[in-house]
């Protein structure tokens, strides 16, 4: 269970360029929920995920994962519980190391790393099976360097790396955005399969409304650092892009109107 309370972050606070990315976010995500997060550029989606992962330190608020406030833990300590994939495949994998080495590093998530050989024959078997399951034809290329793979293949490996140890929380930060539509579709299908099989609690940021509607069990819309729409349950499959756009305009207008009210003396 992930509970966010009053999470706030302003970049360049106290300067003329101050930008509020998170404006008091309250959000509860139950175990096994698959939440898609949409919103326009600068809505705070990515900052939200980075704050949860520990890459951005929030100004205020708490981040509770399984009842423990992790808001001020360093990235590496949270990593035991959280798997994350970024938009750029370069960020989530190590280009000069092999597929087997990358997976071996991910398999040690949250564990002490000692002086045992990292890639053992037993592990190679396990990795080969995991790769065969996702069907990219990479099971015979365990010793290929990540840098020699395509963006889609790298992102698929990143997905395996993020989920290998069944983390308590999976964060997908526009992980399809840098892929061509066909590859993106394949990686998304793979994502959905892994999330469903592991019943992983997942937060997926996207700016593709169709994706946000089609996947996941709950949809959250952000605007100007706030959550302006939260749809779950039976209502979620009924959503259409048109309805979402309509809701977005209404909600963002009222958010703007509120701002204006606040500004009026």
């Amino acid at each position: 269970m992930l509970v966010l309370r009053g999470l706030a972050k302003t970049f360049l606070a106290g300067t003329p360029n101050a930008a509020t990315a998170l404006d008091g976010i309250d959000l509860e995500i139950g175990d096994g929920e698959f939440v898609t997060v949409i919103g326009s550029n600068g809505a705070g989606k990515s900052t939200l995920l980075k704050a949860i992962a520990g890459l951005v330190e929030p100004d205020r608020g708490s981040i509770e994962l399984d009842g423990r406030d992790i808001a001020h833990d360093p990235v590496w300590r949270r990593a035991a519980l959280i798997g994350r994939i970024a938009q750029d495949p370069q960020e989530s994998t190590c280009a000069v190391m092999t597929i087997a080495e990358n997976l071996a590093m991910a398999g040690k998530r949250g564990e002490r790393r000692g002086l045992r050989r990292a890639v053992t024959p037993a592990l190679r078997e396990r990795f080969r099976a995991a790769l065969a399951e996702v069907g990219l034809g990479l099971e015979g290329r365990l010793d290929a360097r990540l840098g020699t793979l395509s963006g889609g293949q790298r992102q698929a490996i990143a997905l395996l790396m993020a989920t290998l140890t069944h983390p308590r929380l999976l964060l997908l930060d526009e992980h399809l955005a840098s892929l061509d539509p066909k590859t993106g579709e394949a990686v998304m299908a793979m994502t959905a399969g892994i999330v469903a099989a592991g019943k992983l609690t997942t937060l997926m940021v996207t700016h593709n409304m169709q994706e946000a509607i089609r996947w996941g069990s709950r949809l959250v819309m952000m605007h100007a650092g706030r959550i302006i729409l939260d749809v779950a349950g039976a209502e979620k499959p009924q959503l259409t892009v048109a309805a979402l756009v309509e809701k977005f305009h209404r909600a963002s207008r009222s958010a703007l109107a509120e701002d204006r009210l606040l500004l009026t003396p």
């Binding site: 992962a53 890459l55 360093p74 990235v75 590496w76 300590r77 990593a79 035991a80 994350r84 370069q90 960020e91 989530s92 994998t93 190590c94 280009a95 000069v96 190391m97 080495e101 071996a104 590093m105 991910a106 040690k108 998530r109 949250g110 564990e111 790393r113 000692g114 002086l115 045992r116 050989r117 990292a118 890639v119 790396m161």
Partner: protein, 300 residues
């Protein structure tokens, strides 16, 4: 002619193996951590100073050499602490430690130069041990080459094995993609410390062995040593490429041998020892520029 070639080759093997540890140390920081670690300029003479001072004080040669390695590792750890805990740029952290070590080295030796001409070191010990075993050896180039080669194989093998362990992978990834390895649960402050300690331990080992081979430790012996190490790494890379850990380690060793050969040839053709740093700088420049120029020519 043949005698000249022979002495060139002997010199290459003797000095090249001694400097290979330096190449391995520089490989770790320069290639895997992707920054020139100037701590080397202090940890190399530190190795020489600690070993020489202990030897003159009557210490066991092996223990004196091992103490030099520990001193170098400590120097690397200090650089890592300054970089990670005080968040100071890694090059600046290296410069700070290098500067401090100049005084430390003078304090350790008590003067600018410690002679070992009348003090037997590890190589004399190896020679007498072998003689006692029925293999008559003197403290000469052959003994040095044999003893250093055995140690080098052991150190290089240990390094390769380490870089394939869970911890070793984390150390490598720290230099390649720190964001990623942190997001996999690794405290990179720790892996940086381990990497810099190993690197400077190896560099200090080179300093300790060279001091015992040359017969003295000198406060100035570390000047330009980082460039020397980097030249070895780059020359080796130009030949072997950077395809795997094994090749990278081999490249650093072969690079050190070739670097020594080139220096020896330069001295043979009439250049003097005072020209050495200029030769080193030119070699480094060539090792950097040739792969690039070759790439540009091939693209045409």
């Amino acid at each position: 002619m043949l005698a000249q070639l022979h002495s060139l080759l002997v010199n290459m093997l003797e000095q090249g193996f001694l400097f290979s540890f330096l190449g391995l140390g520089v490989l770790l920081t320069f290639r895997f951590f992707r920054f020139p670690d100037l701590t080397a300029e202090g940890s190399y003479p530190l190795g020489g100073a600690v070993a020489a001072t202990l030897l003159v004080g009557g210490a066991n040669p092996y223990l004196a050499t091992f103490a030099a390695v520990l001193a170098g590792a400590a120097a690397g750890t200090v650089t890592a602490l300054i970089h990670t805990k005080l968040r100071i740029n890694n090059i600046i952290a290296g410069i700070v430690v290098m500067t401090a070590l100049y005084t430390v080295n003078l304090r350790v030796m008590g003067r600018a130069n410690v002679s070992l001409l009348s003090t037997p070191g590890v190589f004399a010990d190896v020679a007498s041990a072998l003689t006692a075993l029925g293999v008559p050896m003197r403290e000469d180039a052959a003994t040095t080459i044999a003893a250093t080669l055995v140690l080098l194989i052991a150190v290089a093998a240990a390094l390769v094995l380490f870089l394939h362990t869970d911890l070793g992978l984390a150390v490598r990834a720290t230099g390649e993609n720190e964001t990623m390895i942190r997001s996999l649960g690794v405290d990179t402050d720790g892996t940086k410390m381990i990497g810099l300690a190993i690197s400077n331990g190896a560099i200090a080992l080179s300093g300790a062995l060279v001091a015992q081979n040359h017969g003295f430790a000198d406060i100035g012996m570390g000047i330009g040593i980082l460039v020397t190490g980097a030249a070895s790494v780059l020359i080796g890379e130009a030949i072997f490429g950077d395809r795997s850990i094994e090749r990278w380690v081999l490249a650093a060793i072969v690079g050190a041998l070739l670097y020594r050969l080139l220096v020896a040839v330069a001295l043979r053709v009439g250049l003097e020892p005072v020209d050495l740093k200029l030769i080193t700088a030119v070699l480094l420049l060539a090792a950097l520029a040739v792969p690039r120029l070759r790439g540009r020519l091939l693209r045409r």
